[in-house]
Amino acid sequence: MPDVAVFWALGALAVVSGVMVFRFDSMARATYALLLSLLCVGGLVIVLGLDYLGVVVVLMMTIEMAIMAVFMVMYMMNPAGLMPMSMLHNKKGAAVLCTLVFLLLAAGIVLAPWPKRSGRPADDPTKALGTALMGPHILTMMTLGFALFATIVATVVLATRRGRYDRFGDDLRARTADDPVRGGVGR
């Protein structure tokens, strides 16, 4: 069964690179280790028969981690890890807690009486997802849409230092915005 081999390979790689995220000193390496781990998750989602969602996970995580690397490098005092140093706190307590959480989850997973597989997947799971999101799950979709829109607004408000008074003057009368970087549309 090639699927089984793929599962073990991707699964092992996902966990190993997930651990390496917190062991690498270099922020670039940590970020791309996380990307590798999440790419493996995307691959496993494809193995499970969800082609669209798997590829979307690959696409989104690639873009997300590439952006993340910028912030990692920006906000860490030692981004390249040339002088190894520990940035951890409460290592022992966290290790105990996480082991406990894993054991608890594992016990639940092994002991739970999982129901039998019911029904067959749709011929085209992507289409099924689309009709679900646009039909019975439209509320989920709309909530996600508003959440994303709110995120865009909130992110810009939080991250920018300049408001409209900086851009258009105290009386907001300036005809063109006074921006430190000029844009490409007639400014």
Binding site: D51, G184, R187
Partner: protein, 321 residues
């Protein structure tokens, strides 16, 4: 048209080996054509024009071999592993993206979500360029990497909308279905805006031509500043592979794939791809290098609304069909 019966096929297994070779040959031809145009612009008409043209046409091959013979360069405190992964990923992502591009009516593979796959591979190349810029521990190459990340934020969104529009018109994410939907009329006829945006972003994601800022002269070559030998060859060659792959993908998306009168399907694909490549190569001489913040505002204020309108028009047409 007899070919309609055999649409959306998958090529035999040996095509996997053939694909990188074909892609490289087309890339060399495109680079040669580009060099011929450059030589012509530099020297104009005059004696010895034929010999010069010939020399320019094989210049990419010669340069490639020369780079192979040159030594690699290491810088102090570099991150060689990440840099090399980034360099190798650029051509690899181009080949993986090209795997879903049908030649004639057959692609190496035709997955149900081929269009999303193509987009994911482009994103991988995008992230890889930053890695290649990070690797050598050099300011100039890192600046180049950052420039490409910023450029990606500008071109990626309109590009995705352009891809979505083609998928919307066909009602499928499978590339074979998109080609089949264009049997009567090419998508470019009723999605001209999406096609134009796609061509722009094709250049942008290959960081080539007017979008070559990440490798700009003002930063001494940017991402490739510190690379020599095989590393440089893979990066600069991978750039041409990306350009060829994206240009070739515009054919099944907007230009009807292998559909066309008289000639066989594969010949139409080759002809159309060559046409798109020639358009890009000639067109890049007319446009100066774009800084990413300029393109950013243009992309978000003009291209995103434009592609959204285009998608709306297509959606209305599809719903009323």
């Amino acid at each position: 048209m007899a070919e309609s019966a055999e649409t959306a096929g998958t090529a035999p297994l040996w095509a996997v080996v053939l694909l990188p070779v074909v892609l490289t040959v087309v890339a060399l031809a495109a680079a040669g054509f580009d060099a011929v145009l450059s030589a012509g612009a530099e020297h104009g008409r005059g004696a010895g024009r034929g010999a010069r043209t010939l020399r320019a046409a094989v210049a990419p091959v010669r340069e490639g071999i020369a780079l192979l013979a040159r030594q690699r360069r290491r810088t102090t405190a570099d991150d060689a592993a990440l840099g090399r992964i980034g360099i190798a990923l650029v051509p690899l992502a181009a080949v993986l993206a090209a795997a879903v591009v049908p030649w004639g009516f057959r692609a190496v593979t035709d997955p149900v979500v081929g269009i999303v796959w193509f987009n994911a591979m482009e994103a991988l190349a995008w992230a890889a360029v930053w890695l290649a810029g990070w690797g050598p521990n050099s300011v100039l190459s890192l600046i180049g990497g950052y420039r490409f990340l910023a450029q990606g934020l500008a071109y990626e969104l309109p590009h995705m909308f352009a891809l979505t529009t083609a998928a919307l018109g066909a009602g499928s994410l499978r590339v074979g279905e998109v080609v089949r939907a264009q049997q009567g009329m090419w998508f470019v006829v009723w999605m001209p805006a999406a096609f134009a945006v796609y061509l722009l972003s094709a250049c942008a994601m290959a960081f080539w031509g007017p979008f070559g800022h990440p490798l700009g002269r003002d930063v001494a070559g940017g991402v490739v500043a510190e690379y020599s030998g095989v590393d440089r060859l893979l990066l600069l060659g991978g750039r041409w592979l990306l350009l060829v792959a994206t240009a070739a993908f515009s054919v099944p998306l907007f230009l009807g794939g292998g559909h066309g009168p008289l000639l066989p399907a594969w010949a139409w694909t080759v002809l159309k791809t060559a046409g798109v490549l020639a358009l890009l190569i000639v067109g890049r001489r007319l446009v100066p290098t774009l800084r990413m913040e300029r393109y950013m505002e243009f992309a978000w204020l003009v291209l995103v609304p434009l592609t959204l309108l285009q998608a709306l028009v297509v959606a209305v047409v599809v719903l009323n069909r």
